[in-house]
């Protein structure tokens, strides 16, 4: 009895809905295969009144950023060392900036070749991440004020920009 009723209902439904269209959704999500982490925040040392430097010999600490890539040859690391302070006392003279980015630690010996293959322009350094794994990049930054002029007292902050760009 139940089967018969269902069959009739099915026939009725097929007749009444035969002209309608249906959109079936497809969903998906993509997880990033590259992640960036600040491994060590940097600190400016003040070895002389006119110099701020992250070098250890100058009493500073070099910032370190870590890139983790799951797939090789899909990403490049773009790291920009600072050319301006994000916050500082009022400066009335020019500031001369210098900086560099290098591979400081690897999880695969082949990553040690990144330094030789890096591209540098302006204050930007690019590395092709051709090996899956983890690479640590250390950034040096130093700033000189005026012509051997003393920095005004206060707090100085700068930012290193690190990006993972898909190739």
């Amino acid at each position: 009895m139940f089967k018969q009723t269902s069959l009739v209902a099915a026939i009725l439904l097929s007749v009444t809905q035969g002209a309608r269209a249906l959109d079936a959704p497809i969903m998906g999500s993509v997880q990033s295969k590259c992640s960036i982490t600040t491994d060590t925040p940097g600190i400016y040392g003040n070895p002389t009144p006119s110099v701020l430097s992250t070098a250890a010999v100058d009493g500073g600490i070099e910032p370190v950023v870590r890139f983790d890539v799951i797939s090789a040859d899909y990403y490049k690391a773009v790291i920009t060392h600072p050319q301006d302070f994000s916050s500082s006392p009022t400066l009335t003279d020019t500031v001369v900036w210098n900086g560099a980015v290098s591979v400081s630690e690897v999880s695969d010996p082949l990553m040690s070749g990144y330094d030789a293959a890096k591209r540098v322009y302006n204050n930007v350094t690019e590395f092709d991440l051709t090996v899956a794994g983890t690479t640590w990049f250390s950034i040096t930054s130093d700033a000189s004020y005026g012509f051997d002029k003393s920095w005004p007292a206060g707090s100085y902050n700068a930012v290193v920009s690190a990006e993972c760009i898909a190739l």
Binding site: E105, V106, S107, P109, S112, T134, W136
Partner: protein, 269 residues
């Protein structure tokens, strides 16, 4: 039910890591690195070192552990530095859960031209404190069959109740002795006082007597002398025949007949 289970189970899984196995040399014995815990398994090998070399030089570095249960290596991670400049390397190598018995001597083996500086090799491991349930706290613990129960001799006189009873008895005896001594002392004192106050008491009695006599409250016969002497008893019994009561003859005969009937009845006569 769940609470009862959780309170019973005292098993604890310990996660920890070893010290730097290569702190003093590029070869080490695992006996000195891992704690000798039953059921311990190594999960990861974390190592780092710095390579000093020229980029063109060939160099291969292997961090490895021999297989204690056979030949070859139970763990071996090879880094080929040939053709690349030296650098710092840091690796975490998961190994699953290899039991401690399989881990043989470890080493950092360098092949080629170059040196390994500041090496660090650390093993992360885990173990269950009740992997072998050797204590009653562990679930599944069974006491050894050979363990005989230990009987501890206890002197019954050392029992607290008996000790208390003995002390109570001792206190009672002491109290009785003190009471007896006090009574004896009291009697002695009364005797001494009696002797000392006889005259005083007699004078008081005489004064009271005189006062009462003056009030005539004591009858004069109170002082009448009764002649003393001995009153001897006088017993007198006149023997003779006491005749039967003739008026009660019938009753007496019936009584006698009844008596004889009762006596004879026990002989079935």
């Amino acid at each position: 039910m769940l609470l009862a289970y959780s309170s019973y189970s005292c098993s604890e899984v310990i996660f920890s890591q070893s010290a730097n196995a290569s702190a003093f040399a590029n070869q080490w014995t695992m006996l000195n690195i891992l704690p000798q815990q039953a059921g311990l398994t190594v999960s990861n090998v974390v190592y780092k070192y710095r390579v000093e070399k020229l980029a063109a030089d060939p160099m291969v570095v292997a961090v490895q552990n021999e297989n204690a249960n056979g030949s070859g290596y139970i763990f071996r991670s090879v880094d080929d530095w040939s053709g690349v400049p030296g650098n710092n390397i840091s690796k975490v190598v998961p190994v699953g859960a290899i039991p401690i018995e399989a881990w043989g001597d470890g080493s950092i083996e360098v092949t080629g031209i170059g040196t390994v500086e500041d090496p660090s090799v650390i093993y992360t491991y885990r173990y269950d404190t009740c992997f072998i349930p050797t204590t009653p706290d562990c679930p599944g613990y069974e006491p050894p069959l050979s363990m005989l129960p230990v009987f501890v001799y206890e002197d019954p006189l050392e029992d607290e109740m008996i000790q208390r009873a003995l002390e109570l008895q001792k206190l009672q005896e002491e109290e009785e002795r003190i009471i007896q001594e006090e009574e004896e002392e009291k009697e002695t004192l009364e005797k001494a006082l009696g002797l000392a106050n006889t005259t005083l008491l007699a004078a008081d009695s005489l004064a009271l007597y005189d006062a009462m006599f003056d009030m005539s409250s004591i009858p004069a016969t109170y002082y009448t002398s009764i002649p003393g002497g001995v009153y001897t008893e006088v017993l007198e019994y006149n023997s003779g025949r006491m005749p039967d009561n003739k008026n009660a003859r019938r009753v007496g005969l019936a009584t006698q007949l009844k008596h004889e009937e009762m006596v004879n009845s026990q002989y079935d006569k």
